[in-house]
């Protein structure tokens, strides 16, 4: 293996190895102190960054297009193979760099922010798992391997939303997010299956195969479903404000930077196929544009800082989706990088900014002057009221999802319960009660 290949493998595997070691040490009964843990984290991401810089330098000096590491097949059954290929090309390298830099940054920030917090160790273990999942997804040379990283990002995201598990609201919201993720991941599974069936491969370490337009459309629409779920695009945007229940550092890295852009990365990866189909491109543009408009309107009616930032994030990701649909690949990539860095800073600054704001507020002894006029002032009064109510209920997206999907499913489940209890004696029949939370984040007191 050459130096860039070793560097790529190290950069991807190091957080995973640290996660495994920390998990094992906990199982054996040893929990490192906060200082040791933060130093391990800093060392891990610093060395990952060093490896990545070495890789970038080598690539720059040799002019090579990409680094590919092939480990053969993870498993194979006759013609069906699961290739284990890592790849760092012009698309994945910016995402890998972003993940490593921001994960290291978040690690350093959290060492202070979560000092003496009950779940300090748990947070750092999950941070390493998340970094590993993201790096695996971004460095994957095939959609099969990308699924692995994608799922790990989803699981850690949900576990960190439920981080403050003493309160029921974070746990219920984590459950809700998990349900949306799993439902949308069906699109990813079906899209990858369709690629295997029609193209004979799901690898993009080479060149994505050309498919007939109808088949490209089907594949892209399946992948759009997965991307929309992960990036909280319409109609799945309802989970994003709920996800703000997690600690601020995890909100910053997940919903300001990396996880929220994973959907865009998937679409960027599949962009050559997307360019072959007008229908799917139009769908991507429509979903992105609608989400951008929704995000900006709903964000204006948000009362708390983190949710406002989440909606601002949503708006930008919607614009990124539209850019990808149009075919502006590099503009979208640059947009993602810039947005991720700015948004992470805003998320991390939000708690202290509020503190500063309150201090300033009391220092000047009165109200701080309003920020000025807004675009919505141009609308007629009636429309403004309607828009305000619409934004306050976050576009009724959760209500629609509940009314048209979750409630009927739960009703069906209860009907089946009644059918199953036919023939059971009453003493052994237990009362059944649905557990999915129908309360909005505002009702649950999201901060």
């Amino acid at each position: 293996m050459s130096l860039p290949q070793i560097a790529l493998v190290f950069a991807v595997m190091a957080p995973g190895a640290v996660f495994a070691l920390l998990g094992l040490s906990w199982l054996l009964g040893w929990v490192p102190s906060e200082r040791v843990l933060s130093r391990i984290t800093a060392l891990t991401f610093a060395s990952c960054m060093f490896a990545l810089v070495a890789q970038l330098w080598t690539l720059g000096s040799t002019g090579a297009a990409a680094v590919v590491v092939t480990f053969g097949n993870w498993f194979a059954v006759h013609e069906y193979r699961f290739p284990l290929v890592l790849m760092a090309d012009h698309l994945s390298l910016p995402f890998l760099s972003m993940t490593i830099v921001l994960s290291g940054l978040i690690g350093q920030f959290s060492a202070t922010y979560l000092h003496r917090e009950r779940g300090f160790f748990r947070f750092f273990v999950q941070l390493h798992l998340f970094a590993f999942g993201s790096l695996l997804a971004f460095a994957a040379g095939s959609f099969d391997l990308l699924i692995g990283g994608w799922e790990l990002v989803g699981i850690t995201s949900v576990l960190l939303i439920a981080f403050f598990d003493q309160r029921p609201a974070p746990v219920e919201n984590g459950l809700r997010v998990f349900a949306v993720y799993r439902a949308c991941d069906i699109g990813l599974l079906l899209g990858v299956f369709a690629l295997h069936k029609w193209a004979g491969t799901a690898s993009f370490a080479g060149v994505l195969p050309k498919l007939p337009e109808a088949q490209s459309t089907v594949v892209c629409l399946f992948l759009l479903l997965a991307a929309a779920g992960k990036a909280a695009q319409i109609p799945f945007s309802g989970w994003l404000p709920r996800a703000m229940e997690g600690p601020t550092p995890s909100s910053a890295i997940f919903y300001g930077a990396i996880s929220i852009h994973a959907g865009a990365y998937l679409l960027l990866r599949v962009q050559p196929l997307l360019a072959q189909t007008r229908v799917a491109s139009a769908c991507v543009i429509m979903v992105g544009s609608a989400t951008a408009i929704y995000g900006t309107i709903a964000g204006r009616a948000s009362a708390d800082a983190k949710t406002s930032l989440a909606f601002a994030s949503l708006t930008q990701v919607g614009v990124v989706f539209a850019e990808i649909g149009i075919g502006w690949r590099w503009i979208a990539t640059a947009h993602i990088l810039g947005h991720a860095l700015v948004r992470t800073l805003q998320f991390l600054r939000a708690p202290s900014m509020l503190h500063d704001y309150h201090r300033m507020h009391s220092a000047i002894g009165g109200e701080i002057s309003p920020t000025g006029s807004h675009l919505e002032d141009l609308f007629p009064e009636k429309m403004r009221v309607w828009l305000y109510r619409w934004a306050l209920d976050r576009g009724h997206l959760d209500t629609i999802l509940d009314r048209w999907f979750i409630h009927p499913l739960l009703a069906l489940s209860k009907l089946l319960t009644r059918l199953d209890s036919v023939g059971r004696s009453k003493t052994v029949t237990r009362r059944m009660k649905p557990k999915l939370s129908m309360r909005s984040p505002a009702e649950q007191g999201v901060e």
Partner: protein, 483 residues
């Protein structure tokens, strides 16, 4: 090629494998002491003998030997993890009796032997004083399945004039009548819709760990792989998809049903049923990926559900029998290691990356979608719902405000911890390095597929897929071989 020079006669080893647990069960009925030690020793002997059998088995014909080893190890783990209050001679004796019957069923190549093992495995769940549930449905379903199998074997032997499975292979003995009766036996034993309700009843009313062992014997799938596919290859081609559709319907039905279930035991039973219905669907898919995925998933479901039921029982013993998934109990605060093991087993059941089920689900979904592009979509949907349900159960049991009312409860004890750790290691290491398990099951899958298509050389003889395209390496890239 396996080294068989030092291995004693196969029949002797099979006798030791199945005889040791039965002998120990008899010993326990007479000498009612040291039940855990006797149980562990007997299952260890069975596991060692099964390992010998597996070592001696030729490539592609090691499925049942591997299952025997797995089930023996599972029972060994069950005897270790069984809480002290459940560890009486009656329970351990029943478990050992079940182990002997299950191993006998796996190893038998004779119809009468198979029938005897099938019936014997149900006896602890039929007799009062055994593991019999209060509800009538488990006993009824198990009895109907035994009756259907007995009738089918009667018809088959009447038509084929022999009880040897090898001699009856491919002959469709007994025709549609025997086939229908065998399918009935599968439906009732496996808990396929509409005969699914007994599984949850048994899980709720009967002792948790023995019931998990009964369910994880997977006698229904065994009957399909051992009898239905080899004996009725032509009928299978035309009518078997019906059973597959019912299996997929069961996977979806119980997945939906689990969404509002608040009894942890019933919920786990539904999840186990939904995932094990996927095994049947995969076996029927006729694709090498689907069958291999089903066989690997068989292993995963067995270990994961056993782990989940064991942890649930340990929680019941510590925190009360009336655990419910309707409120957050916050048990992770008291039992963090049990919580982590529960999360890993639960997520391993539904395809968490890094566990063996990620590979099995990948193959299973791929194979099923290949053979049933429309109905195959049911499997990922059911799996997604199951993932939600298991996470809901985890969240309600382990997360939430710290439970008060007691001062201190022990987390996993050393014997429990190491047993659960072995299970976790199996699903995790199997997931990180799946090639060995997948390759072995792939060879077994070819044998199963060959039995259903006697003319074919292997399962891939059926044109299922365009060959995978080799990776194209763009000039200027570094690749592993240094080109």
């Amino acid at each position: 090629m396996a080294d068989t020079a030092w291995v004693p006669d196969r029949l002797v080893i099979i006798g030791i494998t199945t005889g040791a647990p039965w002998f120990a069960a008899v010993v326990l009925t007479v000498w009612r002491r040291h039940a855990r030690i006797v149980g562990f020793t007997a299952s260890f002997v069975s596991a060692a003998a099964s390992a010998l059998l597996l070592r001696a088995a030729p490539a592609g014909e090691s499925l049942y030997e591997a299952l025997m080893l797995l089930f023996s190890c599972l029972t060994m783990g069950a005897t270790l993890v069984q809480p002290k209050r459940d560890c009486d001679s009656r329970t351990i004796g029943g478990i050992l009796f079940l182990l002997g019957a299950t191993l006998f069923a796996y190893s038998s190549s004779n119809l009468l032997g198979f029938l005897a093992a099938w019936i014997l495995s149900t006896i602890p769940f039929l007799v009062r004083g055994g593991f019999r549930a209060r509800s009538w449905r488990p006993a009824a379903a198990l009895s109907v399945s035994s009756l259907a199998l007995a009738s089918a074997i009667g018809v088959i032997s009447g038509s084929g004039h022999t009880f040897s499975m090898d001699n009856l292979r491919g002959g469709s003995p007994g025709g549609m009548t025997a086939f229908g009766l065998l399918v009935t036996a599968v439906v009732f034993r496996k808990g396929i819709f509409p005969a699914h309700a007994w599984v949850a009843d048994a899980a709720e009313d009967s002792p948790a760990i023995p019931t998990a062992l009964l369910l994880n014997g997977h006698f229904g799938a065994l009957l399909v792989a051992k009898l239905i596919v080899p004996l009725f290859p032509h009928t299978v081609g035309t009518l078997f998809p019906l059973l597959s559709w019912f299996a997929m319907a069961t996977a979806l039905y119980v997945a939906v049903r689990a969404l509002t279930e608040n009894s942890p035991r019933r919920l786990l039973a539904f999840l186990a049923l939904s995932q094990s219905a996927c095994i049947l669907a995969g076996l029927e898919s006729w694709t090498s990926e689907g069958i291999t995925g089903a066989l690997v998933h068989w292993f995963v479901v067995t270990v994961s559900t056993m782990g989940l039921f064991a942890i649930l029982r340990l929680l019941e013993v510590r925190f009360g029998e009336n655990l419910t998934a309707s409120t957050h109990l916050g048990l992770a605060e008291h039992a963090p290691r049990l919580a982590v093991c529960f999360a890993i087993f639960g997520l391993a059941l539904v395809g968490l990356p890094g566990t063996l089920s990620f590979c099995s689900q990948d193959l299973l979904i791929h194979g099923t979608l290949m053979s049933h592009p429309v109905t195959g979509i049911v499997l990922p949907i059911a799996t997604a719902m199951n993932a939600f349900s298991i996470f809901r159960l985890f969240a309600t049991l382990f997360l939430g405000r710290r439970r008060t009312g007691f001062t201190h409860m022990a987390d996993a004890l050393p014997r429990e911890r190491w047993t659960l750790a072995a299970g976790v290691l199996f699903v995790v290491l199997g997931g990180l390095f799946p090639n060995m398990i997948v390759a072995q099951r792939s060879a077994d899958a070819d044998t199963v597929a060959k039995a259903s298509h006697p003319g074919a050389q292997n399962a891939s003889a059926r044109p299922l897929l365009a060959p995978e395209k080799p990776l194209t390496v763009v000039p200027g890239r570094f690749d592993f071989q240094g080109h």
